[in-house]
Amino acid sequence: MKRTLMRVAVPGVLTGLLGVWIHTDAATSNSKIPVVLELFTSEGCSSCPPADRLLQSLDEKQPFSGTDLVVLSEHVDYWNGGGWSDPYSSRLFSARQRMYAEHFGLESVYTPEVVVDGQREAVGSNAVEMRNAVEASSRDQKVGLTLANTFRDDSRINFHLTSADLPGAEGSVTVYVALAENKVRSNVAGGENAGRSLAHVAVVRALLQVGSVKGGSSFSKDISVPMPSAVGSSGFRVLAFLQDDKSHKIIGATYQKIQS
């Protein structure tokens, strides 16, 4: 009886009591599996600062061995109002979040929300749900994506983007490129967080569709993207990912940090 208890009960209890971070083995042993975390947030949302801090911690510590977390902070614009607006907000991010809400069958958008690889969503400050989603996404096979020959000239960032062959003969994926400020700290003038100083990581300043690829093919293209205005001293990063047009699943991603 005691042996049975030790063999079965202890693992069961321990799995329930483990802390937030569990180091997992990668699906492939040679390279890290990229997993994209899109945090929909706003400086005008009182529930968002803990999610912003969690995303920053994940970006800095990269706690999942074998997994490369590719993080994006997308500031929605629906908390803007009363003469105040989130300086990083865009209706495009609100629309992207609504697209996900429809895909997931949600009654409403909400903040903070994190979407993992376009397939799973969770409250952005819920470390446990986020961990579970990252672990599940880490087991998916991904298409290799490479950023190379990156250089900057005045107002544009230039690079070459290539992918491995996409699996399958049907369907198509859209190739996205994002430019994001590495770190931002702002003093909030209005909204629910008025008077507070807030920090954000990977704040998306531009999210562009740069091409599409059909199943069974690969992508190779020189990309030139205008730099966002007034980038801070922490520099920025270029991110690229492949997203299935039908399932919204992100099947490949990469990024490169560039100092200003």
């Binding site: 208890l5 079965v8 069961g12 209890v13 009182s46 949600l106 009654e107 958008v109 409250v123 008025a194």
Partner: protein, 191 residues
């Protein structure tokens, strides 16, 4: 629970451990406030006051901001009654909210939890048309929990009263503890 009690002790530990992993820690009800409108009296006499109860049922873990929560913070609740030829000049009363300093927001806020009854008080003209009259109200509100905030949303609720002579003359009675809030204006029904 009966099924759980029939499990062996080791199996109970496994189920509990799985439940800890799988169950969401934070409640996430994306439609946490249910609204309804009810007339205090179903039959009303022309020339008499009409009182309606605008009821909000708020899910556990969520709160609703009041009509008078200070500006510069969360979005306050607003409401209006659509143009109704029979009933005019509605005023809205709310009970005393929970006013407190929200240290996360660093602003004072006024909230309601669990449920709240707002009162809409109007008057029936003496020459009101007899018969069933539909009254429609729209309410715009924001709800938050400790972990998430939902965007403001507008809900439409309706009720009806029967206008007929000889109904018991209603008296406008606003209970103690309620106070008049600024607005709403009578909304013109969109053509």
């Amino acid at each position: 629970m009966r099924l759980f009690s029939k499990l062996s002790t080791p199996a109970k530990f496994v189920v509990l451990g799985a439940a800890l992993i799988l169950s969401p820690i934070y409640p996430r009800n994306l439609n946490p406030v249910q609204w309804s409108l009810r007339a205090e009296q179903e039959e009303v006499t022309p020339g008499s006051p009409v009182t309606l109860h605008l009821h909000a049922q708020i899910a556990d873990g969520y709160h609703l901001y009041s009509f008078t929560t200070p500006a510069g913070g969360p979005i306050k609740t607003t409401a209006s009654v659509q143009d109704n030829l029979a009933i005019r000049d509605f005023r809205i009363y709310q009970p005393k909210p929970n006013r407190h300093q929200d240290f996360t927001l660093n602003v004072p806020v006024e909230t309601f939890k669990r449920s709240v009854d707002f009162l809409l008080s109007g008057e029936l003209p003496k020459n009101a048309t007899l018969g069933a009259t539909l009254i429609t109200a729209s309410v715009r509100y924001q709800a938050c929990s400790d972990r998430i905030c939902l965007p403001p949303v507008t809900k439409i609720v309706s009720t009806s009263v029967i206008v007929q002579p000889g109904a018991v003359l209603a008296r406008a009675s606003i209970p103690s503890g309620y106070y008049l809030v600024s607005g709403p204006k009578l909304a013109r029904a969109k053509q």
